[in-house]
Each structure stands twice: as structure tokens, then as C-alpha cells.
């Protein structure tokens, strides 16, 4: 019995790929099964890898990229191997296809509240390298959080460019522009390019001459932080994978969607030294409200809707 995870990039990105791989390893260890990691597969055709992993005996294939959500279910049907895919809530099939469309929107909402509280210039920025659904929902929730905290805080939204996942220079350039437009907190989502955003934050002064802070998503970049990381919407995918393995054993695989949220800490806001304790306390209180449903946070996945939201919040 083994499970396999396929990721588009190397699992060393303190982000999507690394979280997926780490979670798969942890879940496998907990369940006492082997794990095969196929990383850095890119966004092309993964059918060969899927078939090979299946033929090597993997009993669950985790296709950890939205780009794999056509290929993986097809291979599942072809070879009768269960697969887990993302960003396809409608694709469930019992025993074969499970979806784990994850969204840290609840966490992003808190991050928005945090940003609005802490912005000295009353202006924050969102920089993304692309517009996949899970990022869109976080961008939207972040903006909602900002506005909920203080409607006067300006939210600036910028996409680096098409297929700019590895455009670190673009990330830096766009982030610098957004900072120049007044933002002193950047909510950044991107793979390789997020390091360019981090670099911009580290090397550019805010309008008031002070520090610009960075809020990251999915991973925890603390090990490489130089004191500019304000927080991160950290995901923990392990419970999801653990539940999948359990469902496989219980023969309920493919009957339900998995999600992550604040409730079980599978989404949480990273506490750093840059966050004052009183602010953190307030955020923790808000967390409870979100969990209890007192503050409803709905995910918005569509890029156009997100942009529309930004335009309306920008005004």
C-alpha cells in the first residue's frame, strides 16, 4: 500500500508544492503507508507519470495541481486507481475521484483584518502571479477582511502577468509599483515569483519611510525571513490526506469533498514577532467569530469576480 503525490514544481518552495508533499508524507506516515513523491512535473501532460505510479502499485494518486484535474480522473477510470484532484468540486466519483478544493479564504479574511489594522498608510496591496481559483478566493477574502476592518483602507490588486509563476523580476517590479502607490502591506501569492515580492518588500521603503510588511500564503517562510514577514495564511493539508486515506479504507472515498478551515487549524494565521500582542488577540477573537459563522466568509473563485470586487473596493 502506498500513496503518490504529483506536484508541478519542486517541493522546496515554502508554498503549495512543499505543503502538499510534506502533508502527504505526514499523512502516509501516520497511516503507515509508503509515499512516492513525483515533483517538478510542470504543467504539461502528467498522464505518463500517473500511469507509471499506478502501475508501480500506488493505491492513491494525489494530483496536486489544478492543471492535473483532467488527466487524473481519466487515468483513475482507465486503471481503476483512486485519485485526488483539486479545484473540481463537481468531479467526485465514488471510489475513484475525490476532490479537495482547498481555500484558505477564512485565513485570508483574517489576514485582511490584520493588514487593515496594521497598515500605517491605510493602503494595502495584493500581488499575484496568476489567477487560479484558490488564490482568487484568498485575494477576495483578504480584500473583504480589509474592508470589514476599515472601509477607508485602499486595496490595490495587481497580477504580474500571464504565466508568470517563475517571474521573480516581475514580482519584484510589480510589488515595487504597488508599494509606490501607497501600500505598506503586501499580500502576495505566487510560486517562484513570490520570492521577488518578498525581495521588493525587503528592499523598498513605504511612503512614510518605514518598513513594508509581507503576508504570505500556504507555506511558512519564517526560515528565510529577514524580518519583513508579517504573517502567512498557512495551510495544513495533512488532515485532508489523512481523511482521504481513511475514506479509502472505509470505502467512502469519492463521496465527499474535503476542505480546510480555521476550525481545525488546517488554515491558520502565522504569528510573527511583527504582530503586536493586542492585535493578535483581536485577530484570535475574530477567528472565533469566523469559525462560529458569526462572520460569514464566502469563497469567490472566479477571476473576473475577484477583479470586480477589487474595483468596487478600490473606489
Amino acid at each position: 500500500k502506498s500513496i503518490a503525490i504529483l506536484t508541478p514544481e519542486e517541493g522546496t518552495d515554502y508554498g503549495w508544492n512543499q505543503q502538499g508533499i510534506d502533508a502527504a508524507k505526514a499523512a502516509a506516515k501516520a497511516a503507515g503507508v509508503e509515499v512516492v513523491v513525483a515533483q517538478g512535473l510542470g504543467y504539461g501532460d502528467v498522464r505518463p507519470t500517473l500511469r507509471e505510479l499506478a502501475s508501480d502499485g500506488a493505491s492513491l494518486l494525489i494530483a496536486h495541481a489544478s492543471g492535473y484535474n483532467t488527466a487524473a480522473p481519466e487515468i483513475a477510470k482507465e486503471l481503476k486507481v483512486p485519485v485526488a484532484i483539486v479545484d473540481t468540486p463537481t468531479g467526485l466519483e465514488k471510489g475513484l475521484v475525490a476532490d479537495y478544493t482547498l481555500s484558505g479564504h477564512q485565513g485570508a479574511y483574517l489576514a485582511g483584518r490584520l493588514a487593515a489594522k496594521m497598515s500605517r498608510s491605510k493602503s494595502v496591496g495584493i500581488v499575484v502571479s496568476g489567477e487560479p481559483p484558490s488564490w482568487n478566493s484568498q485575494s477576495a477574502a483578504f480584500a473583504q477582511g480589509v474592508k470589514a476592518e476599515n472601509p477607508d483602507v485602499k486595496v490595490t490588486y495587481a497580477v504580474i502577468g500571464p504565466a508568470a509563476y517563475s517571474d521573480a523580476a516581475g514580482g519584484k517590479r510589480v510589488t515595487e509599483s504597488v508599494i509606490a502607490s501607497g501600500a505598506d502591506i503586501i499580500f502576495g501569492q505566487g510560486n517562484g515569483s513570490s520570492f521577488g515580492m518578498l525581495q521588493a518588500v525587503e528592499t523598498t521603503k513605504a511612503g512614510d519611510g518605514g518598513k513594508v510588511y509581507f503576508i504570505d500564503v500556504i507555506g511558512d517562510k519564517t526560515p528565510i525571513d529577514k524580518g519583513f514577514l508579517l504573517s502567512s495564511v498557512v495551510w495544513n493539508i495533512e488532515p485532508v490526506y489523512a481523511a482521504m486515506i481513511a475514506d479509502l479504507k472505509a470505502d467512502t472515498f469519492g463521496t465527499k469533498s474535503y476542505s480546510i478551515g480555521l476550525k481545525d487549524d488546517s488554515v491558520k494565521l502565522l504569528k510573527t514577532a511583527a504582530i503586536p500582542d493586542n492585535v493578535w488577540t483581536e485577530i484570535q477573537a475574530l477567528r472565533e467569530d469566523v469559525i462560529s459563522g458569526k462572520i460569514p466568509v464566502e469563497p469567490v473563485y472566479d477571476a473576473a469576480a475577484v477583479r470586480a470586487l477589487m474595483t468596487s473596493v478600490a473606489q
Binding site: 501532460d45 507509471e52 479545484d87 504565466a163
Partner: protein
Amino acid sequence: MSIETAPSASATALDATAAVATRRDIQHRLLMTLGPILAALIIAGCILLAVGVDPLAYYGFVLEKGLFSPLGIQQTLTRMAPLLFLAAGLIVAFRAGMWNLGGDGQFLLGAVTAAASAPLFVQVMPAWLALFCSFVIAMVVAMIWSLLPALLRAYQGVNEIITTLMMTFLGTSLANVLVKLVFRDPGTTVPQTRTLPVEDRLPRLFGTTITSGLLLGLAAIIIVHLVMTRTAFGLKLRIVGANPRAAIHSGLGVPGLTIAVFAISAGLAGLAGAVDILGVQGNVRADWNPAYGLAVIPVVFLARMNGFAAIGFVFLLSVLSIGGESAARRLGVPKHFTLVLVSIVLIVLALAEYIDHRYNQSRRA
């Protein structure tokens, strides 16, 4: 010094020696292809050793997973289909002296239109007809995309390297715009086109996972080879390529032929996109760009624009990319090592050809 030709008498004799020469030639070519590949593997092996990986294990996996395992060979053959179409298109262009470097843009637009049209067509017509129509549409769209560089080259003499490169940048963006805004599947959150159901895609061969696109690709490249070498049309194109002034002098309609070359070359690139979508992928996602074109260009040169040789090299490329991916994963090398391997193979093959050429020359002297 100058040898008189004794035509009718020696014609047959000449042919006979030619046949013998051809057999030896094939042996020689095989040697001159496999030898360099071996050398390249040794060089790449040193890099592997340097990063602490056992090269023999690596190559073992490459061969096993790319060539000798039933699964691997099926994957390899499937991967070949779009590459063959692209190579066929490049053969036409390069033989006619046109540097169509816009293959990726044409490929993507072909892919997007095929992906957009096929799922609609299958709802109203038999699957085979739907596939056929999608192929045609993909081809036509790619042809249209090449029209501007073709016209600029034919009537204004604007260098096509520039225009096709720019059209490929434009085409890549346009393909994304089409996927995101025009042909987007409303049923998914991810921007992608509607998915063609697996059962409506090109049939697979003999119960394997090999797509019948492989046969289409083989047919395309062989037809192209025969047309280019055996027909008047192919000869005209080759004249335009080898000496455009001679083509004008000989009364060939150079502008028309130029446009034809672009159309055929782009059409084949569009078909490459279509065969990949209709045979394997089923849909196109936003920002998808496998950039096959760049990898196929050197292959076509190394094959000296010979269709059969190109088939061999495309096969090699597929084995390396399928097997390399697998081997890298098993041994913990980043997948990018495959790029290094392909690069070394290309350079060593080019060097070998040079040495071979030199050797032949000095032998004749």
C-alpha cells in the same frame, strides 16, 4: 579529371552500386547516431556522478521506463504524435528556406480551436466526423495565423524569423485570452476549455494507451517527406529554399509558393496541437504551453530535414523525455536534468556529424 558520363550503360551499374552504398550508408548512419548518443550519455553521466547519482541506475531507468517496459514504450509512442506533426511542418518550411520559428503559437492556436470545437461537434455529429472537423478547423486557424508573416515575407521581404517569433508571442497570449474569455468551460472554476470525453477522442491502438495520433503523425511526416523529395511541388519549394533567385528566374511564382509553405507548415503545427488535444489532453488549460516547437527544431536539422531520420530523432527525444522524467524521480535528481541530457545529446550529435563530414572529405582527397 572530368569523368565522361556513359549514361545508359552505366546507369544501371550506378544504381546497383548505389543500393550497396545505401545499405552501408544506413549502417554508417546508425553508427554515427548511436556512437554520439553513447558519448553524450557518458558526458551526462559525469554530471550525474558529480551530484552523487549513479549514472548506470539513471540510464537503466531511462531505458526501462522510456523504451523497454510496455508502459514506457506506449507513453513514448504517444508523446511522439504531436512532435511528428511539428517536425513535418518544420521540414516543409526549412526545406523551402523559410525559418518558421512560430511553431509554438500555431500549435497553441490549433490546440485551442480543436479543444473548443470538438466537444461541441460531438454533440451534433458522429465522433469521427467531429474529430475530422476539429482537425480541419485547427489547421485552418493555424494557417490564418501564419498569413501575416507569409504575406510580409512574400511581398515585402520582411524577415520571417522576426515576424514568426513575434506571432508566436502573440499567439501564446491570444490562446490564453481565448481560453479565459471565449471558450471557457463554465462548469469549472479553473480556466480551461470544455473537455472532450475520453471515449470521443482519437481511438487508441490495439487496446494499448498509444493514441492513433501516432499513425496520423507518421503518415504526415512520411507524406511530407515524399512530397518534398518526389513531386514537382516539393521540388519547387526546394528551389525556392535553395536559391530564391533561381526560382524567380525559372518562372516559379515565388510569393505564392512562399504563402503555400507558410500555410502548410503552420497547418501541420496546428494539426500537432489538435492531435495532442483530441488524442490525449481532451482540453486546453489557460497558460498551457508545452513548447514542443523549440525542442523539435534542432531535431529536424540533425535529421537534415529527412522525414525518416526525423522520425528516429523524435523517437529518441520522446524516450529521453519520458524515461528521463521517470529516472529523475526515482533517483531524486530534479527533472531539469533531462534538459541537460537532451542538450548534450544534441551538441554531440552535431559534432559527430561535423567529424563525419570532415572524415569523408579527407578520405575523398
